[in-house]
Symmetry: D2
Subunit: 357 residues, 4 copies
């Protein structure tokens, strides 16, 4: 916007801007107002075969306890300057807990869930309610709920932690409180109290009010598995019950209002029939995907990368994603979609597969 003769005055003006705590828009607009989202985050894959042994090593070397709070190892997106953020809004970590160990109780404004790829024997105690952790389960610890974990099994356990830590950090909205150092509630029931009260489709305790986050703390694999399988079976019977051909999916929701289970995080499980391919989707907002069972190929902005059980993928805002299943493939995913929908900033572009009917 500027001609050459004014350059010395301009430089002087910019110096004065700087002294006055000012920055002109016209030199910055390209970076801060791009024509389409230009995320600093990069599409990236972390392989379970790398993550698991490192988590085991941490289990040997790093005690778990008050201060560090959790033996959680976070995915650090290569575009985000070494920060422990899988995407600009999403935290994803593998957490390791050895036999007999206890992760001390705390609570925080950040919303959290755990998704279990393998192992068992840990109970997470949420506001005094012990919740078993088993493969395929999704467990919630919503914002400001007290929670600690303890391990009564006979082999170490590793799982995925998902949180909105980067979002809450950027929003300067974090509150954190320490609870008891151990976990006093040592019962290990099959079903948590939250499941006893809320684990019935469409049935709500009469006294219950709507809550922003789900009061159901565990979504069990057997249920998820059945829901996915029914969608594919009904598709085979000719009903329009799937996202796309051979592509089933469920969203984990808050039974008090039918919305996302957590206010800031969307959580879903997808199933692709063997050989099925998802549509190519680009979405404003980011996501993390974890292959739960089966194998396939993810196409991230056109780049192919193979996925096996446990592998994790970070998908930045507006990056096209397509997944092709070699075997029957189950994928867990979480995203920050509720944030964009709440602010009217959501946008989505879908390219169907050319060979779909």
């Amino acid at each position: 916007m500027t001609g050459t003769e004014t350059e010395p005055e301009l430089k002087q003006l910019y110096r004065e801007f700087d002294r006055a705590g000012l920055v002109p828009l016209w030199t910055e607009i390209g970076n801060i107002m791009p024509q389409t989202p230009q995320s600093a985050a990069r599409p990236h894959v972390w392989q379970w075969s790398d993550l698991y042994p490192l988590a085991e090593r941490a289990g040997e070397l790093v005690p778990v306890g008050r201060g560090g709070e959790r033996r959680a190892i976070a995915l650090a997106n290569p575009g985000l300057d070494g920060k422990p953020f899988a995407t600009p809004n999403l935290w994803a970590a593998v957490q390791y807990l050895g036999v007999g160990e206890v992760a001390p109780a705390h609570r925080h404004a950040q919303g959290a869930f755990r998704f279990i790829v393998e192992g068992e024997g840990v109970w997470t105690v949420v506001n005094g309610d012990p919740v078993a952790m088993r493969p395929g389960d999704l467990l919630l610890t919503p914002s400001m709920n007290w929670h600690g974990h303890h391990h009564v099994g006979d082999a170490p356990m590793v799982w995925l932690d998902g949180l909105d830590i980067p979002l809450v950090h950027q929003l300067d909205a974090g509150f954190f409180e320490f609870g008891e150092d151990g976990v006093s509630e040592k019962a290990t029931p099959e079903r948590s109290r939250s499941e006893k009260l809320w684990g019935h489709a469409g049935l709500r305790p009469i006294w219950a009010e709507e809550t922003p986050n789900s009061p159901l703390m565990a979504y069990r694999w057997s249920d998820t598995d059945d829901a996915l399988e029914q969608q594919l079976e009904l598709e085979r019977d000719g009903f329009a019950t799937v996202i796309g051909p051979g592509h089933a999916g469920i969203r984990f929701t808050n039974p008090t209002n039918g919305r996302d289970a957590l206010t800031t995080l969307r959580t879903e499980m997808h199933r692709l029939a063997p050989g099925a391919t998802s549509a190519t989707v680009r979405t404003v907002g980011s996501s993390v995907w974890q292959a739960f069972r089966g194998s396939g190929t993810a196409y991230l902005d056109g780049q192919a990368t193979d996925l096996d059980s446990g592998d994790l993928v970070a998908v930045p805002s507006w990056c096209p994603l397509r997944i092709e299943a070699h075997t029957r493939m189950d994928l867990f995913t979480f995203s920050d979609a509720p944030v964009y929908e709440a602010l009217n900033l959501d946008r989505r572009h879908v390219t169907p597969n050319p060979n779909d009917r």
Copy 2:
């Protein structure tokens, strides 16, 4: 408001009002604007031991088919001039279907459900989806859903139909369409398609949108029973999981939004522990209660009446109701509460039991 000398002129004025299609407020206000609700409807009990044989007799004498549509016998509140209305807004009927009979398909603006006290062998086909009917189940046929019934069992079946017929009649909002004369979809699956898609607590097909009425067409007794039992067990363990001492209850809800399963009707199941007594509640709006299992005493505006399995009670607006269980007692109830809540006309007064802690 009037002195005697003006009486002839006043009479003349009232005649002219009448000719002009006018009515003064001041002579009517006491009736149309009472200080508290004065329902024309009366608290009333219908006994299953009366209803059942009459339904059987109708089964012998009255064919079911197009025109009459259903062999349904409606509760007619003694205060409502012989109209087939249990309360001013609620329809409750016993429907009887013989072995091999078919109730032809139709649809209507009125929302409907069926609650099964005993028997089995009938499938209701809702928009082409066959839904089994079994004791303790609640089945929905929401507004404008096609539905017919057919009986493949070996003994006649009787159930409770609940609808908003009087409300929709008063609102002049009724639409009705005839469908096929028989029921073409004769499959008798254990689980309907709606259950396969929606019968998982907190799991929602990703492609699904919010709908005003529930997309889940059947709430099964095993689930309801478990939900009630868990509330009472947790109460015994010291948790505040009940409506009142020994009084559990669940509401049937629409999983897409957590609200009532039907837009105009609230549906609930209550369980009282042996010897337990509900609080005395008066509510704006009316309800119908059906004893499902067990026995007890209902106090309607202080009047005691014994209840056994299948007995039905109409509770008018603002009539105090208390229920005392002799045995463990399960009660199904439906009401027009969503209407009042939507219009900001709901009001409720609760008198706790004096001997409650």
Copy 3:
């Protein structure tokens, strides 16, 4: 549905039904579940030239005071058995207040408004806040707000009262409380407190919460008139700012949530340019229309009837309505539409005018 040989047994069965408080569906279904709404109410017109002198006569003969409460003369739809109901849900009355008279304070669950055709000098005092009444104004007294009126002008005043009395009566939801016999707050400010706080487009006191009914008690004619005129002017400039050609309209809304000003009643003002004709609309739910200024013809189910200033029309559910303006014509209307929308029972059919572009 019945053959002749069973007739004696059938008659016997019906007698037993009757004794047991039962009514069969199959003999009643045609009446209670019609294929389209068959309102008992009839389309009807009341002329101002009849109403006004009768109201004056009532002013001479009937004192206003505690007990009768208001000198209000209600439109009684000829189809509704002499009940003082303009339609099954709507109350419409002309209220007459003489110079110096006071209508004593009361409050009730029924929602109310006043619309002023002519005259001035009355203040309605709503929860202690005096609100001036002037031609073209809409004034609210929402459910459970205390209100009384007093007349400080120099000529009697007549206005339209609209309430949901029939609806609340049918719903058995009425509560009524008497207040002070006079009106203690005798101030006669130009602007009420509610207007001072809420009468600014899009501006909301920071401390205010959402309320079910509007906190703004008066919608002034000058504003309404300007809003209507702007729509027609912009239409002439080529913008799509009208309901139909030459047909402007505004809805009175609750500024705290943008919804109808009252929870049970929709209130609107329409303006037709000279010679303009509205589309033919049939709606589930009923309405009352009052010609405010100008003249035209209303077509009710095809029947033409002329309308002049002050004339009132009752439109039953599903009755087609079209209005043709001879002069520029302003029409106030109120309806029970929010009830149907809240219950998912709303339905609407529009036939555009054949000569519209």
Copy 4:
């Protein structure tokens, strides 16, 4: 959490974490999960007496046109590394437009408003609708609305631009499109079309639907001023119509739903009576305040700073703010509060003034 003997292995482990794109939680938790919000942003004041001359200098040296788009000079919070962000979510800039100049049309996902401290003669054209800019007015250009500005007055004009640029940048949700280079719609009406349609309290065009952002593009000072004055007058008359003693305030809202005028930004105007003091408030989420008229002292985390007309203050998340008025003082403020409320992350702590009644 670690003892010394494992240090070499630990270092080795951390190197392997780094290679694998991983970061442990336990070394980072203090920074990323603080006990209360620890914003990098700092409370800061920019004085109008510094801003205005620099804007004028920019007016001489920097042309306005396509590419740089706007001659806007942004407040750069001293804690945010030189980025042009007033707070982590909020953009605030002074924009300067010379006589006869045109800021070319564009649109973007970012929501924007302008608040005018002084000057006149510019019309902003929003989706083809010319909107006059005058002192005290708030003008909106919501997300994805086309807008350009042109100046037909006789003296340069400077105003405040507020946007959610940092938020949308962090969310990677930005879309941007260039429009025409000039502004083709050169009409300069007193009232915009949006004001003609929406500028009437509580009146809504019947055909209008709810929209996420306000359809009213201008909130005029005369209205705002009157609303504030009425609150203080009613307070003097003994009514509870203010935020606190001598402290009035209005929020700019979307008339279609009563919520904030923009989905991501809260906009408000406050008025303090001479000598009045606001309560001390700390809020999760940040805000910017601009003294519009009058003078006073702001206490930011206890630090006093004087404010005169045009001065701007950035308030980071959880920083306590109190304002003391020397004269009658009007303050415009905007914040990211809707973001926190939508995500259930809002929290607020108020310390009343000790000398308040």
